[in-house]
C-alpha cells in the first residue's frame, strides 16, 4: 500500500505511519525455529543412525513440495522460502518413530500441508497443528509401524530383552515405573540419559536438554512466550505427581516430563502461532489444558503417550479461548467490558 512519487531526482516513498518497523520478519522467526531444531536432529542421527536424517530430509522435501503444489493449485503466492513448510517437515519427522518405512513421511506431509494447512486457508489460518495432524493420520493408517518401529539408541547401556527398544512411557504404562528403573539400573541413570537424549522414542523428542536449549533461545528472542511451555510442563509434572503413582502423591513428575514428546510439544508445537491463543491468559489456560489432557491420556487412555492428541484437542479450543480472554483495555468507555 505504498506509492512512490518523484521529487527532483529522488523517488520518494509515501505510506501510512509508522515509517520504521522492527527487523523481525516472519522469515526470520521461522528460520530461527529451524535452527533451534537442528541440534536435536544431530543427536538423533548420532543415536539412531543415518536413516533418521534421511526420513527428516524426505519429510522436509515432501512438505516444501506439497506447499508449492498446493499454493500453485489454489492460486496463492508461492511462499516456500518463508521456512514455515520446512518447520512442518522437521516436526513431522520428529514425531514419528525412527524405524518407519521411508514413504510414511510423504503421506504425512500431504495430510499436514495440503489438507490441514492450505485447505483451511494457508499460513496463519489453519485451526490444527499440521505436523500433529500428519502424525495422527499416520497413527490411524499405519498403526503397527507407528507404534513399534523403535530403534535401540547407541550408547544406551541397559539390560537387553524384548523391551529393549520400547519407549519409556510404554514400559511405565504396562509394567510400572519400577520396571523402568530396573531396566535402566537406577533413577539417576534415567534422569541423566533422558535429559541428554539417549533413550528410545520418536526421532526428535529424545533430548530434553537440546529441546530446552532451543526453546529458551526462542523465549529469549521474544519469538515465543513462556506461558504455554511453563503451564503445560508444570501441569504434567503436578498431575503426574498426584495421580501417576500407585497411591496419590507418589508419581514421578521428572520422568513424566523427560519422556515422550513433552519438551518437543511444549516449546515447538503447542506454541505454534496459528493454532494457539494469542494472549497470555488464554495461553496459560491452553497450556494447562494440554498438560491435563496429556496426563489423562497417558494414565487412562489406550496410548502410552498423549501429547499429540492433547495439543490437537486444545487447538480446537483456541478460538474460544481467544474470544473469552482478550487483552485488558487501558480504560474502556463506561458500560463496555474490560
Amino acid at each position: 500500500m505504498e506509492k512512490t512519487t518523484t521529487f527532483e531526482n529522488h523517488l520518494l516513498t509515501v505510506s501510512v505511519s509508522p515509517h520504521i518497523k522492527s527487523p523481525v520478519t516472519v522469515e526470520k522467526i521461522m528460520w530461527t525455529v529451524v535452527a533451534c531444531l537442528i541440534p536435536p536432529l544431530i543427536m538423533a542421527t548420532a543415536i539412531f543412525g543415518i536413516r533418521v536424517l534421511i526420513i527428516t530430509l524426505i519429510s522436509v522435501i515432501s512438505c516444501v513440495l506439497t506447499e508449492a503444489i498446493s499454493e500453485k493449485a489454489l492460486g496463492r503466492p508461492i511462499t516456500i522460502k518463508d521456512g514455515s513448510a520446512v518447520i512442518t517437515g522437521i516436526l513431522l519427522a520428529y514425531v514419528i518413530p525412527p524405524g518407519v518405512p521411508y514413504y510414511l513421511p510423504i503421506l504425512g506431509a500431504v495430510m499436514a500441508i495440503f489438507v490441514t494447512k492450505h485447505l483451511f486457508g494457508g499460513l496463519g489460518a489453519n485451526i490444527f497443528n499440521p505436523a500433529l495432524i500428519g502424525r495422527a493420520f499416520l497413527m490411524a493408517t499405519f498403526p503397527v509401524a507407528m507404534t513399534s518401529a523403535w530403534i535401540v539408541p547407541k550408547y544406551l547401556k541397559h539390560s537387553a530383552d524384548a523391551l529393549s527398544s520400547a519407549t519409556p512411557l510404554f514400559i511405565v504404562k504396562h509394567y510400572g515405573i519400577q520396571a523402568l528403573i530396573q531396566k535402566y539400573g537406577s533413577l539417576s541413570y534415567i534422569y541423566k540419559n533422558f535429559f541428554v537424549g539417549i533413550r528410545p522414542g520418536c526421532i526428535g523428542e529424545t533430548s530434553a536438554f537440546l529441546l530446552l536449549l532451543g526453546g529458551l533461545y526462542l523465549i529469549y528472542k521474544g519469538y515465543i512466550k513462556w506461558y504455554i511451555p511453563v503451564s503445560m510442563i508444570g501441569t504434567i509434572a503436578f498431575l503426574t505427581w498426584i495421580f501417576g503413582g500407585e497411591h496419590l502423591f507418589e508419581g514421578n513428575p521428572l520422568v513424566a516430563i523427560l519422556s515422550g514428546g513433552v519438551m518437543l510439544g511444549a516449546f515447538f508445537m503447542a506454541t505454534d502461532y496459528a493454532t494457539s491463543p494469542n494472549y497470555k491468559t488464554g495461553q496459560l489456560i491452553y497450556g494447562a489444558g494440554i498438560g491435563a489432557l496429556t496426563v489423562l491420556i497417558r494414565l487412562k487412555g489406550g496410548y502410552p503417550e498423549g501429547v499429540c492428541y492433547a495439543i490437537l484437542l486444545m487447538n480446537g479450543f483456541t478460538p474460544a479461548l481467544d474470544s473469552w480472554f482478550k487483552p485488558e483495555r487501558f480504560a474502556p468507555p463506561k458500560g463496555e467490558k474490560k
Binding site: 521529487f7 501510512v16 505511519s17 515509517h19 520504521i20 483495555r329 474502556p332
Partner: protein
Amino acid sequence: MYIASINFGWNLLMEKTLRTFKKGGIHPPERKEYTEDLPIEEMPLPSEVDILLLQHFGATCKALVKKKDEVQEGDIIGDVEKGLGACVHASVTGTVKAIGESVHPLMVSVPSITIERDPEAEEKQYKSVDWHGLSKEELLNRIKRAGIVGMGGAGFPTHVKLSPPEGKVDTLIINGAECEPYLTVDHRLMVEHPKEIVEGIKIILTILGIKKGYVGIEANKPDAIEEMSRAVKENSKGFDISVVPLKVKYPQGSEKQLIEAVTGRKVPAFGLPFDVGVIVQNIGTTKAIYESVVFNKPVVDKVVTFSGKGIVRPANLKVRIGTRVKDIVDYLGGTTPELRKVVVGGPMMGFAVSTLDFPITKTTSGVLFLTEEEIDLYEYKPCIRCGFCLEACPMGLQPNEIGIYVEAGKLEETTQFGVFECFECGCCAYVCPSKRPLVQFIRIAKMKAKR
C-alpha cells in the same frame, strides 16, 4: 572496576524503578544521536514565508490583510471569526505578496498568506515585563493573542486548554518525554532554556490556580533531567514542581500514557485529561507561553529537528513560521542521493510527504529525511496470529483482528475491538512480523465504522 560495577547495578536499579505506563509499548531504535548534541541554531531569515491560515485544531482563520499590505513582524494577519481556533501572525516584516493556497503535509492544501520579507527592515526587539502582578484573564489573553497552540502535534488552542471547568484540575504535567525516535527539539529546549521553561510552568500553574506541576522526561536525556532539576530547585519557590525521570519506552509521551506514568490516573476512553484532574502541556508550548507573557512575543518562530541520513547536515533549527522546507533543505546543504522518504513529525506517527514545497507550521516538530536503510520497504503478508501486536498495544486493543476484519470488508464490526480508542501510535505495525499496515487498516475502519 569495583566502582563501575556499583554504578552499573545502580543504573539497573534506577531503570527498574523508573515510572512508566503499565500496558504495552515498544523500544524502537532511538536514532537521536544525529542531533541530540547539536545546539539550537538560528536560520537566517528567508526571503519569503507562507503563513498557513489553519495551523491548529479548529476553524480556518480569515485573512485580515490584503495583497500589497505592509506588515510588521508580530502583526496579527489572520484570525478565526467564531469557533475554536488561534490567530496567526506575520513572522517577518515585509509586504503581502499573495493570498492563496499552500501545500499542507496533511490536508493537501490550505489557504495561506505569502509575505515577501523586506531585507532592509530592522530586527524586532521584544522587551521583557514582570508578569507577577497580571490577572489570570490578562495572562490568558496574552496567550490567546500570541496564537499559541499545542506544539506537540495536535495544535489544540492553548488558551482554551488552559480554561478548564472551575476546580476540575489539580495537576499540571509538562511533557518532556519526546519518545519519538530522531526528534530532539524538546531535549535541546530543556538543556538550553530550563529557566524559561520553569517560568512558563509557573505562569501556567498561576493561571490554573494550582501548585502541583511535574516535568516528565525520558531517562535517555540525562542532561535535560539535570538542567531541569537544577532550574526547578532554584526557581520554583511557592510552587510544588518536580522533575520525573521516565523509563525509555514508546509511547511514553502519549498524553494518556504520560498521565498514567506520572500520576497513576487513567483517562477514560473518549475522555479528556481534566476528567482525571490533569492538564498536559508540551515543552515547546510552555516556552512559547513564557515568551508570550514575559515578552509579548507571538508564535513567529519554532525549533524544528531536521534529521535522518537523507539530509547533508542534520540540525535543531530555529526557523520562522512559514519558512518553506525547500529553503531549509538548501540552507542545510541539500539532500543525499539515497533519500527515499520525507516524513513530517516522528517516524512512528509522522506523515510521509511527496514534496518539499510546504511551510513550517506551529505544530511541526521535525522533518525527517530517511534513506532506504532507515525505513521499512517490506511487502506485507497474511496475519500469522503471533499475538505480538496484543502485547505491544498500549490501549489493550486487538489490532490483529481489526486488520483481518478490514481485509474481509467488515468495517462496522471492528468497534468490538475498540478501534476508536486507538490513537495510532503504530506500536502494532512496528512489531508485526508480517509487516501488515495495521495503522492504515485502523484508519480505514475509523472512516467507515460508527462510534
